[in-house]
């Protein structure tokens, strides 16, 4: 069977073909060996290890470790800090995902509906994707500063007393979500732009003949159904990106004030690398990995069937 892939001249001479085939297998293993080695050392073993550590009470520097079963996970459920962290992450995903997807789609439609300034505006909205988020976060820290920040200065001009955006536990997650949307919207816009370009022009003409006249109904009868696969892809990766929120929390709030902006990866970071409670931190990592895998499977298993057009 495997001879099929060999050129006809070789396949005719069976012993030569056999030799070539074995040579090919050897070459294949040599070519993949460095990648396999790095994969096993840097990804496979550490991932297996993190799952194993999650079932122990390992602390860095402690003389011994003990197998504790599900104790870390039981502690997570009781830990108010972790529950807050989980809830905050869910909130962040729930706000940034729809806003940055709908916003990205609207920007893409707006840019696509004319010819002027396409490249320029695409660049403007894409800029956050290539910007150093730590640096941009400090710019947001200034903008949202309660007394000297331009956002509250503008609100004062309108006679409104602005909130202490990042400094109050009521508004801090909303403020982070605004920054999250700013960070992600351009990426989604570019994906939708690619999806829009792939829609055949004559479908719009056909819809016109069938009496679809307004831009509104044109969107719902042609554009939106044909964007199905793009939207699904955008949905999954946006949720996973939001789930990984870390930089802006580490830069701006360190989980504060009063744990009001703890998120999964930041809690995992402080437990593991500030308090060195490796077992507990590993358990948080497992929860995080579980959430990512569930979202990935959701895409391939459930949603994929509904939006695929062969």
């Amino acid at each position: 069977m495997s001879d099929v892939a060999l050129p006809r001249g070789y396949a005719a001479a069976a012993p030569a073909g056999e030799r070539i085939h074995r040579g090919e297998a050897l070459a294949a293993w040599l070519l993949t060996a460095p990648a396999v080695l790095a994969f096993v050392l840097m990804l496979l073993i550490p991932t297996a290890a993190v799952v194993a550590i999650a079932f122990t009470d390992y602390e860095l520097g402690a003389p011994a470790l003990r197998f504790v079963g599900l104790a870390n996970f039981a502690e997570l459920m009781e830990d108010r800090g972790f529950v807050t962290s989980f809830r905050n992450t869910a909130f962040f995903v729930a706000v940034t995902t729809p806003v940055s997807i709908i916003g990205g789609l609207m920007l893409a439609l707006l840019i696509e509906s004319g010819t002027r300034g396409r490249t320029f505006f695409r660049a403007v909205f894409f800029l956050p994707v290539v910007s150093l988020m730590v640096a941009m976060a400090t710019a947001f820290q200034y903008m949202f500063h309660p007394t000297i920040g331009p956002v509250n200065a503008a609100l004062r001009g309108l006679g409104i007393v602005g909130p202490n955006w990042l400094g109050s536990s009521d508004s801090v997650m909303w403020t982070l979500a605004i920054i999250g949307v700013w960070e992600q919207i351009g990426f989604n816009m570019v994906l939708f732009l690619a999806g829009l370009t792939a829609i055949p022009r004559d479908l719009y003409a056909a819809a016109e003949v069938d009496g679809v006249r307004s831009a509104w109904s044109r969107f719902w009868t042609v554009t939106w159904p044909l964007l199905g696969p793009t939207s699904l892809f955008v949905l999954t990766i946006t949720m996973i990106r939001s789930l990984r929120v870390f930089d802006i929390v580490a830069t701006l709030t360190q989980g504060g004030p009063n744990k009001a902006s703890e998120v999964l990866l930041y809690t995992m970071y402080t437990e593991g690398f500030t308090f060195f409670r490796m077992g507990y931190s590993a358990a948080i990592t497992v929860v995080f990995l579980g959430a990512v895998v569930v979202l990935m499977l959701l895409q391939t298993r459930v949603l994929d069937r509904r939006v695929h057009y062969g």
Partner: protein
């Protein structure tokens, strides 16, 4: 051609769209505009909370001078370049041959290897951090370039992407090379690598953007006010240890560390967008 085709709009008809896009664009650019504006303002003007973007007195030298004199910002940028380049070289050296073998060679275990690649795609880079940190701490390589580079040397996504790319390449090219007596290594270096430039460029852009901007792993692998800080770490050090509430100097540091990638993006916009969206799967 439909009457609603976007191509025959007059400027007047297009005006609402342009105005709306401009307003939204301006809102989007606000962080950049304020960052640059504040980086040019003296401290007392910053604290006066005025809405004016143009400084009354320019404090360019004071703010940028403070960054340059108090932290080795040039060193941080150089570290960013070394780490990004080191990571990219290893990623390509590992993933290009592996992607080729998975796409074009017949060998036992190929399906198993590919299954592991697909499995690897599910695992975010944050997951192996704890065991890697423990292993690096015990072997004493924390606070080295190796610690910053090693965990990212393998990109499962790159293997996947190059496999897809090479599968689309005609078999005849490789067969012809074999007929000419080229070994598999020479085929990889003389036929595959030169033909893989489009995919390699796209991946390179994605990789550099991801690692230049990464904070999570550098924060773990490098401690103290080390000489090894990447640009992202450098901004954090500068803020917590030097600048504090000196927004002028802080914005100067932010501007300096943001400029390299943004400038590269503006120069090669289309390649950047292609590279990042083509590889966006991994995010």
């Amino acid at each position: 051609m439909t009457p609603s085709s976007p191509h025959d709009k007059s400027l007047i008809a297009d005006l609402p769209r342009l105005v709306l896009l401009s307003v939204l664009g301006l809102i989007f650019l606000m962080p950049y505009i304020w960052m640059i504006s504040v980086s040019l303002k003296p401290l007392d003007e910053v604290w006066r909370a005025s809405m004016s973007l143009i400084p009354q007195t320019f404090a360019f030298e004071k703010n940028y001078g403070r960054v340059l004199s108090e932290v080795p910002i040039g060193r941080y940028l150089l570290n960013g370049v070394i780490v990004c380049f080191g990571i990219l070289v290893f990623q390509l050296a590992f993933a290009l041959p592996a992607g080729y073998a998975l796409a074009k060679l017949n060998f036992r275990g190929r399906e198993t290897l590919f299954a592991f690649v697909m499995l690897g795609l599910l695992i975010p880079a944050h997951v192996p951090a704890i065991p890697l940190y423990i292993a690096f701490a015990q072997t004493g390589i924390l606070n080295t370039y190796a610690a910053l580079i090693a965990p990212s040397t393998i990109s499962v996504f790159a293997i996947f992407m190059f496999r897809q790319f090479f599968r689309a390449m005609p078999d005849e090219l490789i067969h012809a090379a074999r007929m000419d007596g080229l070994g598999e290594w020479s085929i990889v270096w003389r036929i595959i690598v030169p033909n893989a430039w489009p995919a390699a460029t796209a991946f390179a852009i994605f990789s550099v953007v991801a690692h230049w901007n990464d904070l999570f792993w550098p924060l773990i692998a490098v401690s103290g006010k080390g000489e090894l800080a990447t640009p992202a770490l450098g901004v954090i050090y500068f803020r917590t240890e030097e600048a504090g509430d000196d927004f002028g100097a802080l914005m100067a540091a932010a501007t300096i560390t943001t400029i390299p990638l943004v400038a590269a993006f503006l120069l090669a916009q289309r390649r950047f967008i292609e590279g990042i969206t083509m590889t966006g799967l991994k995010g």
